[in-house]
Assembly symmetry: C2
Homo-oligomer: 368 residues x 2
């Protein structure tokens, strides 16, 4: 399995820092932590774990349907967005699929488990990794069974607006291609209504939207995601092959509670609105690194120092207690890329300071 | 999906009883509730949910390996035993499999998801549903790729000793058949060392043992199970196709803590030792029902009243706030069977009283 971000356990063993002393910029999680209402729900419902969760999680399904203004029948819950990704791929069972490069590596891994042939559509660095919508549409053919998009895209943070997305999905529909749009980071996008496909769900039977819960609401450890499925038939197949009780009881309760935590949602938008600008500008003004514009809560950046790869930078940062994501293992990127999550001002300031020091000292050429 | 036990949510909607007022005999869960150390671990580690769980759960793996006296490399963790069952079946990918009837219905469902042809080996009522070991061995042939056993078997409670099990597994090995032994209820068995295959794990590369965590330790809502895998190659395939982060952080912490809760384990054995005898004798002395001897924490029983099926009995019991498992949907059983979990003395007494009343009043023939 490709190494993901967020492994503070391994980072702690390597660096000698306690887990809770490590500043983790490698996972794209809301730094505001567990919403107050979610914490309350977990504690209140602790004794409920002596029962099985309710099959299909109908209460959570209703809460999500209400939140998005879709019908209950459209919603399927999962043990993280990961379960929905794997389940969709098993249900579609594609023979050939098209995936963006770079993009979240689990699409490829999940496609491999069903023996699918994967082709890549490369995002271009010159374009800041923005998706070439026309190019993608031209690339589609009836040889593909599935197209996997991530919007905003991980790790680039680039976003496609819903009009462009409609063109893609319509062309795919003509060709009999299912489109999975992973909106795991959509809640972090300003004006996300312009980009999310949720409101178009009823229009496309070839559309599957994947949503994560635990990135925006800050509890990836509890595991909660969901899918919004445009096709009744595909949804039925997914239900038929889905493992029972996959969403644990506390995740369900925390999920329902979080949707009502208006205060948390508001604070999150305020935090990200200012902090992303702060971090981006600091990176832009720094020598030796180039950040790419992002619509999500993370910033892909390229290291411009000769002799300094992402692996080396990651090691040096970790020696200072800061964990960053080496993005070199994303298909279509190389060892010059890192991904940095946006965190609190205090943490971001610390990141900027340490990064600047390391890039400067390495530039002075100690090791030539 | 076949209806399982433990759906107190649906039972509550049907009966009008509050969920926590329903006495649930339909799920086979330890009535002692959440172990003290598990509860403490959940509360202490609550803030850890802001991080991803550690991939592969190495700490839990080590704790389980120590508990069972096996090497870490043998252990794989899962989102309930269910994930291990589905994962094993996906990894083996059998074309034809042999399953006991009656037995846990998810084997069949999981086999169906990979397009496997399923054949059944019927357990005989006359034998109290004890497995005919010689008969099973004779039934094996190299046309089968997989044999799925449940020990003790759900819903019959019958158990196979480890010598008999070895004969089965050795014959299967000769024929190239993987054997999955689901020991989800093994912890409840007296002298379980005589029955569990854990100590033979290193001897058989065609052996997969499935263990549940949350039945014995009373937290099915948190979801935790694991597999002990005899074959390095199969384990590697399982790891390659397994979804990342499938075990949530709180389940991991509660699991590690539970293994150390010696007091809870001792109390559980004391409770079951006396209560199973109490409930069995009460059922044996009752007119209109026949209990079968069980080595687990539940008792399969046959209703002997004409005109009284399991569905009807379930409805009548639920009107009194008691949920029992209609076992009529198990392959190989019919509408005359119910499965009753062993609970606390107070609850068992209540079950016995209500059951007796219903069976008596129906025998008096009100509805003729």
């Amino acid at each position: 399995m490709a190494e993901h971000g967020g492994n503070i356990y391994k980072a702690s063993r390597i660096s000698g820092y306690c887990q809770d002393k490590i500043l983790d910029f490698s996972a794209n999680i809301n730094p505001l932590g567990l919403p107050f209402l979610a914490r309350e729900a977990i504690i209140t419902n602790l004794d409920g774990v002596v029962n099985y969760p309710e099959p299909g999680n109908p209460r959570l399904v209703s809460a999500l349907a209400g939140y998005h203004g879709v019908r209950d029948e459209r919603v399927i819950t999962g043990n993280g967005a990961t379960e929905i990704i794997y389940l969709t791929i098993r249900a579609v069972n594609p023979g050939r699929a098209l995936v963006l490069a770079p993009s979240f590596s689990e699409y490829c891994r999940a496609l491999n488990t069903v023996g699918c042939r994967v082709e890549f559509f490369q995002l271009k660095e010159e374009a800041g990794f923005a998706l070439d919508v026309e190019g993608l549409i031209n690339r589609l053919s009836d040889e593909f069974h599935m197209l996997l998009l991530c919007n905003p895209n991980n790790p680039t943070g680039t976003v496609v607006n819903s009009d462009d997305m409609k063109h893609i999905i319509e062309k795919a529909a003509e060709l009999g291609i299912y489109v999975m749009v992973d909106e795991a980071f959509m809640d972090f996008v300003e004006d996300h209504d312009k980009y999310s496909m949720v409101k178009c769900l009823e229009d496309y039977t070839n559309l599957v939207i994947v949503r994560a819960f635990t990135k925006f609401f800050g509890f990836p450890g509890l595991r909660l995601g969901y899918g919004l499925i445009g096709s009744n038939r595909l949804k039925l197949i997914m239900e038929n092959i889905k493992e029972p009780w996959s969403v644990n009881f506390l995740a369900e309760k925390a999920g329902i509670a979080s949707l009502n935590d208006v205060e948390y949602i508001k604070k999150t938008r305020e935090w990200l609105g200012s902090e992303k600008i702060y971090l981006f500008k600091a990176l832009e003004n720094m020598e030796g690194i180039k950040p790419y514009r992002s619509s999500a809560n993370f910033i892909l950046s390229r290291i411009l120092r000769p002799g300094m790869g992402a692996g080396k930078l990651q090691d040096l940062m970790l020696q200072r207690g800061i964990l960053i994501r080496n993005a070199g293992n994303f298909q279509g990127l190389d060892d010059s890329y890192v991904r940095l999550a946006v965190k609190s001002r205090e943490a971001n300031r610390c990141l900027v300071q340490v990064l600047e020091e390391i890039l400067k000292s390495e530039a002075s050429g100690d090791e030539s």
